[in-house]
């Protein structure tokens, strides 16, 4: 049973009530009818794809967006029941759905829980209503509290809360308040994702910043917030297991770790990306084409060369605090990691950005694990870029 091939499932819901000012993901507001038609198409793609993966078991499902909670709960129920029927879903599969405060009711949450969703990811971003408004979020802290309470009452025992630092107008004290408010929730979230705001080209915030009409905390303030996150969350028993993700023991997001470990995953829905057995492919981003033919939107496949596989293995794996296994590298690529990356590894160890750990449960030959140090986590792009061959 366990040696069966694994396939994670990702569902993309490209709709939201209103686009946030920093968002450059594939998402846009849409009317109820379009969302309904989209959910039909997504169901068709899900059902039509099942046969190709009949021999894979599914350990995790992630429904992301956009704001998946804008879809009708009946449609979500049908989708999940179809996954349960047509895919070999593990009994203990992690099934996550993203929700946005202000778009979910207690009734909706109870039905989703019954339909199998067992992990919720709630986009809070900030506990300060002023900061929320400044980045174009549609909800308030009060609304978040409602949603969080309803989620707990509905039975969710594994909840993530997203927060953001370096927001326009945010002070260190303000950010500390957000952290503390989140940690004083009853019960506190099992998982916290803490990102700093990145101004992506083409977003309204980016344009305002370019015009000079947007004040954002400078790099030093940003760093202080970042360090504060680490410090406070560590005190409260959260382990930083990935660059931006913190969790109580045993509550790491299995789905996302699959991405970093390069497990196979199938992305369903508009623009969704997939990796199956070292082939990357994705659906196109044209909504009309997707609605017309949800199974016919796949764009050209990219078969990863050995070199690309090595690069990905490194720069994805290093996102995790536990890093990569040198033994696994050898096993996958038939060559020692030091042969390919010896110089880069030595240099970054000297610079204090990488460290070698002994393998935890060294079955057979133990080559150790290679991981970013705390400092290396902060400079991860700088380190990872060196692993491109």
């Amino acid at each position: 049973m366990t040696n069966k091939k694994e396939l994670e499932l990702y569902f993309h819901i490209p709709f939201c009530v209103r686009k946030c000012l920093y968002c450059d993901f594939l998402s846009a507001p849409a009317d109820r009818e379009t969302i309904g038609r989209y959910m039909e198409a997504l169901l068709a793609e899900t059902e039509g794809s099942a046969v190709s993966y009949a021999d894979h078991r599914v350990p995790t499902v992630f429904i992301g967006g956009g704001t998946p909670s804008v879809a009708a709960v009946e449609d979500m129920e049908r989708l999940l029941s179809s996954v349960g029927r047509l895919y070999r879903l593990d009994r203990d599969a992690e099934i996550t759905m993203e929700v946005n405060p202000g778009t979910v009711s207690g009734e909706q949450l109870r039905r989703l829980y019954r339909a199998g969703v067992n992990r919720l990811s709630i986009g809070l971003q900030s506990a300060d209503d002023g900061e929320l408004a400044a980045i174009g979020r549609i909800h308030t802290w009060e609304q978040f509290l409602d949603a969080y309470g309803e989620a707990r009452r509905a039975g969710f025992g594994n909840v993530n809360v997203d927060i953001m630092s370096a927001l326009p107008g945010q002070t260190l004290a303000g950010y500390r308040r957000t952290l503390e408010r989140v940690l004083s929730l009853e019960p506190p979230p099992e998982h916290i994702s803490a990102y700093s705001l990145i101004l992506e080209e083409g977003t309204p915030l980016f344009e305002r910043y370019e015009e000079g009409s947007l004040e954002i905390p400078d790099e030093d303030a940003d760093r202080e917030m970042y360090e504060l996150t680490r410090e406070i969350l560590a005190q409260r028993g959260y382990r930083r297991y990935e660059i931006s993700n913190y969790a109580r023991e045993g509550y790491e997001c299995r789905h996302n770790c699959g991405y970093w470990r390069r497990r196979s995953y199938l992305g369903l829905g508009l623009g969704a990306a997939s990796l199956v057995d070292n082939v990357r492919f994705r659906n196109g981003a044209d909504l009309r084409a997707y609605l017309a033919d949800p199974l016919g939107c796949r764009e050209a496949e990219q078969i990863l060369s050995r070199q690309e596989q090595m690069e990905e293995f490194m720069f994805l794996g290093l996102r995790m605090r536990s890093g990569i296994s040198c033994g696994e590298f050898r096993q996958l690529f038939g060559r020692g990691i030091e042969e390919i990356y010896g110089d880069v590894i030595d240099k970054n160890i000297r610079d204090g950005l990488l460290e070698l750990w002994p393998e935890r449960e060294g079955a057979g030959e133990s080559l150790g694990r290679l991981a970013l140090t705390e400092k290396g986590l902060d400079l991860s792009n700088y380190v990872m870029a060196q692993f491109l061959l």
């Binding site: 997939s274 990905e312 720069f315 400079l379 991860s380 792009n381 700088y382």
Partner: protein, 608 residues
């Protein structure tokens, strides 16, 4: 051909050029003339037949002089041969312009009906008059709403003193009035003189290297006749060869003919390997029956501006050498010699006529030869007089001798004419003062426009003077200059230290009075350009070991991309690739990586 026929043919030749300020419509008029004389069908017409290098078209500037021969059937029923000789339109190429003019008997002066006379109009027209050319004024762009032809006609008469009342009013763009221009060429420009039976005397006004034919000499036959088999000699360079082919210029192609005789414009090939042997301005004669004296006006080309070119990838050094060699085949004004820099490795110190010439060569190296270059700050040639009486011509700041053995230094100075509308006189004078200009005088050419005369050090105008001029006059000022000579000046070498190491490629010579300001701005600029490293990096400017300015690049604290969404790693990978790509374009100095564009930052100090 018999003498009589040659003489008769000579009477129907018109050799002329078109002179104009940039953008007044020279190339367009040339196109129309070619079109109108019917040698080409419209289908064959490229947008601009004379400018056949891509680069020139994009810049709107004609770089290499070329010629075209067309046949025009005039209203008098006769067919005339019109040789249109194109002239480069930039002050860098003044000498080449003067040789092209010397090959002509007349010139068409194109003036924009809206803008009127500009600095280059004046400079070019005086140059044409100096060569005793008959100048026919033509008013172009009369279809513009802002056109004021009568005002411009009066201006031409008042300022230049040319009769202009019957100047053709044309729109080259829309083909209006072209026939009038052609008729005036036939009527007002004299036929060439010269005796076909005299010893050969031909003026080289351009030459071109062709891999099949060798050097193709573009010339105007002043006296005598040349044909296949004639043993020719270049009187200044001494090169000798037997003529393989002579011919005339079609539009963009070479048309072989029997012979070229006095008055004709055409080409000669003689299996010559290098354009250095066929210098512009040199005289071609018959080695067996030479003319008494060469034509006047020949000058050896001299590089005025120097800079170092280094391949971004050190392994491409041989490719750069080959490319320079090939370019030089066609460009006798390009000089280069190998040099080494601690910071940049192996490269070449290259000499140019001016900054435009430098930019053109750099672009051609990058575009046609696919080379990624690092160029050091352009500098002029300084004369360094040492205490032991020796004089050296300094082209690379790194070679400046120790100050203790320098008696004094001299720098090249130009006399400049700047034409500007009166509202901007103040700001232009201010600019000239900042650039160490010496005010010579000012003349109003009409109520609202004046010519300012200044002497300026060449090194103050080579980088960005033209841009500064344009921006401070909202584009209205125009500018022309001549090299005047060398003058003593208080010059120092400014060195840049990055993380305590001197970066030779960033050193430059500057006047002592502006050294502090330049050093300070340079440090500021480099601080922006040098990315944060894992450690703190001091950037210092120093004169003779004494630090005069300092900035610091703080250590890097954060470089993460947090979000990586829904398994879509393409963006993440692109970002990392970009980062890696950026690293490739870095130069390692000690343990600091400096982006290549930082080396250009010295040029752009006046941006802000």
């Amino acid at each position: 051909m018999e003498s009589m026929d040659r003489k008769q043919e000579q009477g129907r030749i018109r050799n002329f050029c078109i002179v104009a300020h940039i953008d007044h419509g020279k190339s367009t008029l040339a196109d129309r003339i070619i079109e109108h004389t019917g040698l080409l069908t419209s289908r064959e017409m490229q947008a601009q037949v004379l400018d056949n290098m891509d680069l020139e078209r994009e810049r709107g500037i004609t770089i290499k002089a070329q010629a075209v021969r067309t046949v025009y059937k005039a209203r008098d029923g006769q067919e005339y041969i019109l040789n249109l000789i194109d002239t480069p339109g930039h002050v860098d190429f003044n000498y080449e312009v003067s040789r092209s003019l010397a090959a002509c008997d007349g010139a068409i002066l194109v003036v924009d009906a809206a803008q009127g006379i500009e600095a280059q109009t004046l400079a070019n027209v005086y140059l044409a008059l100096d060569h005793d050319l008959d100048v026919i004024p033509v008013i172009n762009k009369i279809d513009l709403p802002s056109a004021e032809p009568q005002r411009v006609i009066d201006e031409i008469e008042d300022v230049i003193g040319l009769e202009a009342q019957d100047a053709p009013l044309i729109s080259a763009k829309n083909g209006i009035g072209i026939e009038d221009v052609l008729e005036q060429i036939v009527k007002k420009i004299p036929a060439p003189k010269g005796n076909p039976d005299s010893p050969l005397q031909a003026l080289i006004f351009d030459s071109l290297y062709d891999s099949y034919k060798g050097v193709i000499i573009f010339c105007r036959i002043m006296e005598g006749t040349v044909k296949k088999g004639t043993a020719i000699r270049m009187m200044a360079t001494g090169a000798k060869e037997e003529v393989v082919e002579v011919g005339v210029f079609g539009a963009g192609q070479f048309i072989p003919c029997e012979e070229l005789s006095a008055g004709m414009v055409g080409y000669i090939t003689a299996s010559i390997k290098n354009v250095k042997d066929t210098a512009v301005g040199d005289t071609v004669t018959d080695d067996a029956n030479p003319c008494e004296a060469p034509l006047p006006g020949y000058k050896k080309v001299q590089s005025m501006v120097y800079c170092g070119f280094y391949p971004a990838d050190g392994a491409k050094y041989p490719d750069l050498r080959d490319a320079l060699e090939k370019l030089q085949l066609n460009d006798a004004a390009l000089q280069y010699e190998p040099e080494t820099s601690v910071a940049l490795g192996f490269g070449f110190r290259c000499g140019f006529l001016g900054l435009l010439h430098l930019e053109v060569i750099q672009e051609r190296l990058e575009r046609e030869y696919n080379l990624d270059l690092v160029a050091t700050a352009p500098g002029v040639v300084y004369k360094v007089f040492k205490t032991n009486g020796e004089m050296i011509e300094l082209t690379n700041p790194s070679n400046l001798p120790d100050p203790s053995v320098i008696e004094h230094m001299e720098e090249p100075v130009v006399s400049a004419e700047i034409m500007v509308t009166s509202e901007f006189i103040g700001s232009i004078m201010e600019l000239c003062q900042e650039r160490r200009g010496r005010y010579l005088g000012m003349e109003y050419i009409e109520a609202s426009r004046a010519v300012l005369r200044y002497e300026l050090p060449l090194n103050e105008i080579i980088y960005d003077f033209f841009d500064a001029l344009k921006s401070r006059s909202k584009g209205y000022a125009s500018f022309d200059y001549d090299i005047k000579g060398y003058e003593e000046s208080k010059l120092v070498k400014l060195d840049i230290l990055i993380n305590k190491e001197e970066v030779d490629a960033l050193s430059f010579i500057v006047h002592a009075d502006s050294a502090y300001e330049r050093g300070r701005r340079m440090c500021e600029k480099l601080k922006e350009e040098i990315p944060r490293h894992l450690f703190e990096i001091p950037i210092q400017a120093a004169i003779g070991g004494k630090v005069i300015a300092r900035e610091t690049v703080k250590a890097m604290r954060k470089d993460v991309l947090a979000k990586c969404y829904g398994g879509d790693i393409t963006r993440k990978k692109k970002l990392l690739e970009k980062q890696k790509e950026g690293k490739k374009r870095m130069r390692q100095i000690g343990n600091v990586e400096i982006p290549q564009k930082a080396f250009l930052s010295v040029l752009k100090l006046d941006d802000d």
